[in-house]
Amino acid sequence: MKSLRVAGTVGDLPTVTFGSRSLMWWGTLGFMVIEGWTTAIILAAYLYIRQNYETWPPLRTPYPSLLIPTINLALLLLSIIPAVFVARAAKRLDERRLKRWLVVLSVACLIPLVIRWWELWALNTRWDTTAYGSAAWTIVGFHTSLLLLDVIDTLGLTLFYFIKPMPVKSFSDASDNSFYWYFTVGGWVVIYLIVYVGPRIL
Amino acid sequence: MHSVFDPASPQARAVAHLWWWMFGVGAAVWLAVMAAMLLSLRRRRAVRGPDELMQPAPGMDSHIERVVKAATFVTVLILIGFLAFDFSIGRILAQQPVDPLTIELTGHQWWWEVQYANQDLSQRIVTANEMHVPVGQPVRFILRSRDVIHSFWMPNLTGKRDLIPGYQSTIWFQADTAGTYRGQCAEFCGLQHAKMALTIIAQPKAQYQLWYAAAVSAQTEPADSTLLYGQRIFMTSGCSVCHAISGTQAYSTVGPNLTHFKSRTLIASGTLPNTRENVARWVLNPQAIKPGTQMPPSPLSTDQLSALVTYLETLK
């Protein structure tokens, strides 16, 4: 082994960082890219299926109803507000305010998940009638699994903050969770436009 | 037998031409790379030899850089040339045939249904696994599939084209030299994908007209009692449930059409020569020859079987 020459020290480097300086942020970004790309592929398949039909949605298949989906979309967009406050509180390391906004965020993201059940049936078609129904159900179903995963993360984080002492780096995780929530909501806006509004236009 | 190397149609000849050019240039490139590799070992060192680092010599580096740039440029040139050559061949294949003979080919699990389309219904021919085509006249195939994806390919005549359920694709060629050409399904389609062959017999126009007239003519009615007994066995036991013989009560389209069965050279989708002993062996237990095929073994006694085969032999 060659002898070692000290060329500097890392002792005074911070151990908790936020945003793109932290590893967890990059991991979250990685999975957002994967899930975003999977959604893009299914949407591409949805539009590919569109070529096989003269009319879209196919004959005798009603348009997806817009009432419940629009309400759910609004709720999802509104839930970005608590997410922003969670991120801000996390960056200020203000645990009290973080806990409060985490509870608001948990509720704000649980409601759309529950409404999603009626939103699925708002497609007005079953998954096993036509390829149109299959495609619509697959896309909304896949996003529901993303939504479920993120709701579990948020609820878990909130629960942990109330029942156990949390390390400082969990603040960074909280801001990453909000970052992931923006993606989930953003992804739904695209799906909403193509699957619910699209049939009236395509 | 059948291969890309001896083409019998302008299409296959164009591709063979492209192949031999690619093979030549490819072999030359490969030999050049091998030569460069072996020559680069001319100053190799013993494994245990001194291993001091070789500092990059500026003179040598700039020289070798020019060589690498040149090599890359030559590679790009070869590839662009090859691309242009391929497009020219592609255009030959993409020309539309002028008044072609149209044959509808439908792929089933493990046999080919052939239909010579014709407005006049009496001139239509429905047969299986074997086709006669006139030499010198373009033949256009309309390809459909009833179950899974198959692929129509006659190496001597033209490239392959998939038969995909939900799609109707077409391919055409013009046989130049007469002969019997064999092809096989080229897309994996299940248990008996290996034995799903078809035969195309290219004949001069006169012979083709003779064959066509015979193929359209009515079957000869069975004359003596054994033939009648054979036909009755065909009609009453399981045969007529799947097979059809035009001019008789058997009209089911589940299995291959057996009209003029004896005029075919091979049976069981190109698996066995059409001899009496093979037909008997096949009818008795097709599962032994093509396990998994949809034709069940037949519970016939020996004399019933011989009567049936005798009757089948009259279907010239």
Partner: protein, 178 residues
């Protein structure tokens, strides 16, 4: 630990059984004993036990049955199981009983009002395959072996997705109907 291993072996054998492609094997024999439809019968009374259809838990056999069901034009009278001229095959009403031997008899011998006899047209193996497919239409066979959706139009829920049929006594007492 031992019985966990036994359960695993049982699942494995079920897997084996369900996935087996019985190619080039002798045709399973026709049933000799038929479960009685009516309790009245001459001579000493006996109650035949339910017979076991050879392809009930074999996915390949049942799918061959589905192929034969459409190729032999059973669809012409029974539709895709919903019934039209012929009786419906998806419900739990069985005029001649739902035991495999009874269905085999219905197909081989034929029944009144137009059901043709297939005894000389189809081999025993093919009839047994159709028997298993017909029983899978009303979810009497194990779920794993029942066919999923077909590549035709979606006219009925796929047998594999219909819940298992509750055992219901069918026809007069003594009918198997399991």
């Amino acid at each position: 630990m031992r019985n966990a291993f036994l359960i695993l072996v049982a699942i494995a054998c079920a897997g084996c059984e369900r996935e087996e492609r019985r190619l080039n094997q002798p045709s399973p024999p026709a049933p000799t004993q038929f479960v009685a439809q009516v309790p009245l019968q001459p001579g000493p009374t006996f109650v035949a036990t339910a017979t076991e259809a050879p392809f009930d838990d074999n996915a390949y056999g049942t799918s061959e049955g589905e192929r034969l069901f459409s190729q032999m034009n059973c669809v012409g009278c029974h539709a895709h199981g919903g019934g039209s001229m012929g009786p419906a095959l998806m419900d739990d009403q069985w005029i001649y009983g739902s035991d495999p031997s009874q269905i085999f008899a219905s197909i081989a011998e034929g029944r009144a009002n137009g059901m043709p006899a297939w005894k000389y047209r189809l081999t025993n193996e093919q009839i047994w395959q159709i028997v298993s497919y017909v029983r899978s239409l009303s979810a009497l066979t194990p779920k794993g072996a029942r066919p999923s959706r077909s590549d035709q139009m979606m006219v009925k829920p796929a047998p594999a997705q219909t819940p298992n049929a509750k055992p219901k006594r069918s026809g007069p007492p003594g009918g198997a109907g399991h």
